[in-house]
């Protein structure tokens, strides 16, 4: 099959301070696309073609190419990770496009995710949010026997549903408000359903929300677009849980503990 691509090309990295773009959408024709190719393999073919023509190949993040590392991700015709539900860009196959299709490919757009180059963005904001408290404070060696604390299967499953987040950032890219609440909600939900994680639930809720706000993500207005594009189909339930956890933590906080909740 043949496709016509419109791809965002940008050589100079934009920063949080300066979003001035020297980028633009560039048109490329591509023949000999096989329906069995993944979307990224299609971009590989384009890049080989570009190199032969002496043009710089399109930069895009990817690694595992099986939908688990969360590195890949571009906005395809306005939808992060493309038309298929529960699918990462690397798992999207060209058989889902018609022959002769016009495809628009853009990077995640968010102030908190500055473009590094072409389709590559800087998602380190997610790492900093995790560093602020998305963990259980246990040192190596301090653990008790794994079966000492039983965990109801239902709880383990709920925690798991949230823990499947691969940190791709599609939720932010899809949200009209560039909100990261599905990601942060997933982190909070993962830990709060496990007895091991419940110990620090209040600190965690406050610190993660503070860190999230600090990074300049938008606010959720319950549009549920994130849930629709999340490759792991993480439900917006986790956002409701995050709201609950945050309010609970603020209400229960002792005046003394005011300081807590500062940015990470």
């Amino acid at each position: 099959m043949k496709v016509t691509l419109h791809i965002w090309r940008q050589s100079k990295a934009s920063s949080k301070a300066d979003f001035a773009q020297d980028g633009s959408m560039v048109r490329y024709e591509l023949d000999h696309v096989s329906p069995d190719m993944s979307f990224l393999e299609m971009l590989d073919v384009l890049n080989e073609q570009l190199v032969h023509q002496g043009q710089e190949p399109v930069a895009f993040d990817h690694d595992c190419r099986e939908g688990i590392c969360g590195a890949c991700g571009v906005v395809i015709d306005g939808v992060p990770h493309g038309p298929e539900r529960g699918t990462t860009t690397c798992q999207l196959h060209m058989r889902h496009f018609t022959d002769g299709a016009e495809i628009h490919v853009e990077p995640w757009r968010a102030a908190a995710f500055p473009v590094v180059k072409d389709l590559v963005v800087d998602r380190s904001a997610f790492d900093r949010i995790v560093q602020a408290g998305a963990f259980i404070s246990v040192d190596t060696g301090a653990a008790q026997d794994a079966n000492a604390v039983p965990v109801a299967k239902a709880d383990a499953e709920r925690a798991f549903d949230a823990a499947t987040c691969i940190g791709c950032g599609a939720c932010v890219a899809a949200c009209k408000n560039a909100s990261a609440m599905l990601f942060v909600g997933a982190k909070i939900s993962h830990f709060v359903h496990l007895p091991q994680g419940r110990v620090e639930r209040e600190q965690r809720a406050k610190k993660l929300v503070a860190a999230m706000d600090h990074e300049g993500f938008g606010n959720c207005t319950n549009q549920y677009e994130c849930e629709a594009v999340c490759p792991k189909e993480i439900p917006v339930r986790v956002i409701a849980e995050m709201n609950r956890e945050f309010v609970r933590a603020r209400i229960r906080e002792e005046p003394a503990a005011k300081s807590v909740g500062g940015h990470g």
Binding site: H6, W8, S14, F19, Q21, M25, V75, D77, G78, V79, H104, E106, R109, A110, A111, A112, A174, K176, N177, A178, S179, M181, V209, A210, M212, D213, G216, F217, G218, N219, C220, T221, N222, Q223, Y224, E225, E227, A228, V229, P235, V236, R237, I239, A240, E241, M242, N243, R244, F246, V247, R250, P255, K258, G261
Partner: protein, 229 residues
């Protein structure tokens, strides 16, 4: 106080503020509608209701101030969040698309601001008597100075006014149809089993409120209510 301010300033705190003020505003709109429905059961009923309100100035003013505060907070927070959200996406997509977000959910700011316009007009109309002094004057004349019935019916007998009111109700419907289920989600009420029903309920309630108001708007033109002579 600082505690409250910090809470309000946080993203989730802002959301929750919208939700809580949202509930209250919704409550007011419902109560207000119920009160106004007296219009259908004749002058005495409505005026009695108005008179009842007037007879408790303390309570009335408390309610008004409270309402004003809630409304102000709702608007201020809404605008604050909206501005933050704009800033969060400095560069728009060349190709925009939406998978499942409803139109209502995407136009909350628009519908909200339109409601603001409505409320201001509405106050100038019935509360301060700026827009239609004639009708407003009629209020003072009859029923011990509280002939609300006369005032309202006189105004709604003017097609332009009736239509304007009705039009605004569509916006109210838009705002509430997303708003009601949205506030449930914001307040952490989400459950695989009940959430779908809550979403339906949200639309139904919004329709009832807006519908009720529309009914009143057209009550005179449709002849359900006769203009007080």
């Amino acid at each position: 106080m600082k505690w409250l301010f910090d809470f309000w300033r946080s993203s989730v705190g802002g959301k929750v503020t919208m939700a809580i003020t949202g509930v209250l505003l919704f409550g007011f709109v419902v109560a207000h509608l119920l009160g106004n429905l007296q219009l259908l059961s004749g002058p005495e009923a409505l005026n009695a209701y108005a008179h009842f309100l007037q007879s408790k100035p303390g309570l009335l003013w408390l309610a008004r101030i409270g309402l004003l505060a809630v409304f102000g907070l709702h608007v201020a927070t809404g605008i604050r969040l909206a501005r933050a959200n704009r800033a969060a996406r400095p560069v728009p997509y060349a190709m925009e698309d939406t998978v499942q977000a409803t139109f209502a959910s995407r136009s909350m700011v628009f519908s909200g601001l339109t409601l603001l316009v409505f409320v201001i007009y509405h106050l100038l109309h019935f509360t301060f008597g700026v827009t239609n002094p004639g009708d407003f004057a009629r209020k003072a004349m009859g029923a011990g100075g509280h002939d609300v019935h006369a005032m309202v019916t006189a105004s709604f007998s003017v097609p332009a006014i009736a239509i304007a009111y009705a039009a605004f109700q569509l916006v109210l419907f838009l705002h509430l149809s997303h708003g009601i289920q949205s506030l449930a989600q914001t307040l952490g009420l989400h459950h695989a089993r009940y959430t779908p029903s809550i979403k339906v309920l949200s639309v139904v309630l919004a329709a009832l409120v807006a519908g009720g108001n529309m009914l009143l708007s057209f009550s005179v033109l449709t002849g359900i209510v006769r203009v007080a002579s």
